[in-house]
């Protein structure tokens, strides 16, 4: 069974609440909403830092080459208030991560969510609002 007990909080899996988005700069200045990404890999580390946490995963391509990708997540302080600690997402955990590619061409993206091998999901980012358009 997964060691990811922190996901269960009062019967609701972990969710980012009270931190819809961080309005200090526009999403579109850094990331491309028209370049959604979905990749499978293993956790290298989860930098629980501000202003955004970063989930780094190692992704193997079809030729067996491994590249590291970093996905931007929410500020960790909210996560701490939900019981998350630095031991919550151990390196080596298999995950599927969805996000939107960085516009500068680097191996970085705005994280949307993480899905674990058992199907449970962790939201990394919520940037919707009244004017949001449906994401395909």
């Amino acid at each position: 069974m997964k060691r990811l007990a922190f996901l269960i909080v009062s019967g609701i899996a972990l969710l980012m609440v009270g931190v819809p988005a961080w309005a200090h700069h526009g999403f579109a200045a850094e990331f491309d909403a028209d370049k959604p990404l979905k990749m499978k890999g293993t956790v290298v580390k989860w930098d629980l830092i501000n202003p955004h946490s970063w989930l780094e995963i190692a992704v193997k391509d079809d030729d067996g080459k491994v590249a590291n990708w970093r996905f931007e997540g929410p500020p960790p302080n909210t996560l701490f208030r939900l019981g998350v600690t630095k031991d919550s997402l151990p390196p080596g955990t298999e995950v599927m991560v969805e996000g939107y590619a960085a516009k500068d061409g680097s191996n970085r993206a705005s994280g949307k969510n993480v899905t674990f091998a058992d199907g449970r999901k962790l939201i990394l980012g919520v940037a919707g609002g009244a004017e949001g358009r449906p994401d395909k």
């Binding site: 526009g26 850094e30 501000n50 202003p51």
Partner: protein, 342 residues
């Protein structure tokens, strides 16, 4: 004096109820004479005790909805209805935009995530309602219009910023540069999508107000000393305080022109009043005046609820990858444009 049944709004509860707080209005706002009002205890140094961790989130709109005219407070019944509508996620409820102050935000909203994965919804997040119909107090319930000279000053500045935003890091706003976030800068105004936790620690002759976002701390002397010389300017100005009964009054001047709160100038004069009105609530009230921006002062009142600590470190510049992403994206775009122009 009415007794309110206090029900808690909590993100973890499967069924959320709303924290209703009977507002004890500050000076001049009483609609009925109070019975013996709650007063805070004393610190070991003999000052009114306002120490604690607070959450300054609110769902009350900044300005009064037009249809309410000069109505400053809801009746108990109306208050209950508004709260219910917010709780039911009625997008037309006053405050449905959760107290957005309208600074920034634009581009963030283009992408919509699967909020229904966990029934995440901003309305269920922890917030406070007061019976005020707007955070701006008074019969108008609106921020006064900006003077023409201020409008012009801001238009010129905004135009420059828009045109040169990604030229260099210094042209980004203070928040993106991790110098001072919108939430930190005083006066403390509710801003959507931000960390609203803060902590007050009182010592002898000083009150420290520590905001979690970008680890901002103001250590305010309470001896009513004079301000710094007017030539000395700081992003957060210079704050000096004193006690008036149970209220901490903080007077701030000596701002720079860099923070420009609501388009104001470096001449802004801010008076904040902190009063703990119940074991669960501190009333934060401020008045701003700036004859170079508005023709009259205006006042806002925001209730802060006590919250569970501790505050966690928010180191910003140390992990600020955003600057690289923003500038990088701009340089890539320019390179592509240059290539296709050849």
């Amino acid at each position: 004096m009415h007794h309110r049944k206090i029900v808690f709004s909590c993100v973890f509860a499967a069924s959320a109820a709303i924290l209703l707080v009977a507002q004890v209005p500050a000076v001049g706002q009483q609609t009925a004479p109070a019975k013996k009002a709650w007063t805070p205890g004393r610190t070991p140094d003999g000052d009114p005790d306002i120490a604690g961790v607070y959450d300054a989130r609110t769902a009350t709109p900044v300005e009064r909805p037009k249809e309410l005219g000069a109505k400053e407070f809801y009746t108990d019944q109306e208050f209950k209805e508004v709260s219910d509508r917010l709780h039911r996620k009625d997008p037309t409820a006053p405050g449905a935009s959760a107290g957005v102050f309208g600074e920034g935000g634009g581009d963030n909203r283009r992408v919509q995530y699967d909020k229904d994965v966990f029934g995440f919804d901003v309305f269920l997040s922890n917030y406070v309602a007061t019976k005020r119909t707007s955070l701006v107090v008074g019969p108008e319930g609106k921020i006064p219009p900006m003077l023409p000279e201020a409008r012009e000053r801001n238009a010129t500045r905004n135009a420059y910023n828009r045109a040169h935003e990604t030229d260099r890091v210094q042209n980004q706003n203070l928040e993106t540069r991790c110098i001072l976030s919108n939430r930190q800068l005083i006066p403390l105004f509710p801003i959507e999508d931000s960390n609203t936790h803060l902590q007050i620690v009182q010592g002898k002759g000083y009150v420290a107000i520590y905001q979690e976002l970008n680890h901002d701390v103001r250590v305010i002397p309470t001896d009513g000393r004079p301000h710094l010389a007017k030539e000395i300017r700081q992003y957060q100005g210079d704050s000096v305080g004193h006690w008036e009964g149970n209220t901490l009054v903080v007077d701030t001047t000596n701002f720079t022109d860099q923070t420009a709160f609501r388009g104001s100038s470096e001449n802004m004069h801010l008076v904040e009043r902190y009063t703990k009105v119940s074991p669960d609530m501190l009333l934060y009230r401020f008045t701003v005046e700036d004859p170079k921006t508005w023709d009259k002062p205006w006042t806002v009142e925001v209730p802060w609820m006590t919250a569970k600590g501790p505050l966690y470190e928010y180191a910003c510049t140390e992990g600020n990858e955003s600057l690289g992403l923003i500038l990088g994206a701009a340089r890539v775009k320019e390179a592509e444009a240059a290539k296709s122009a050849k």
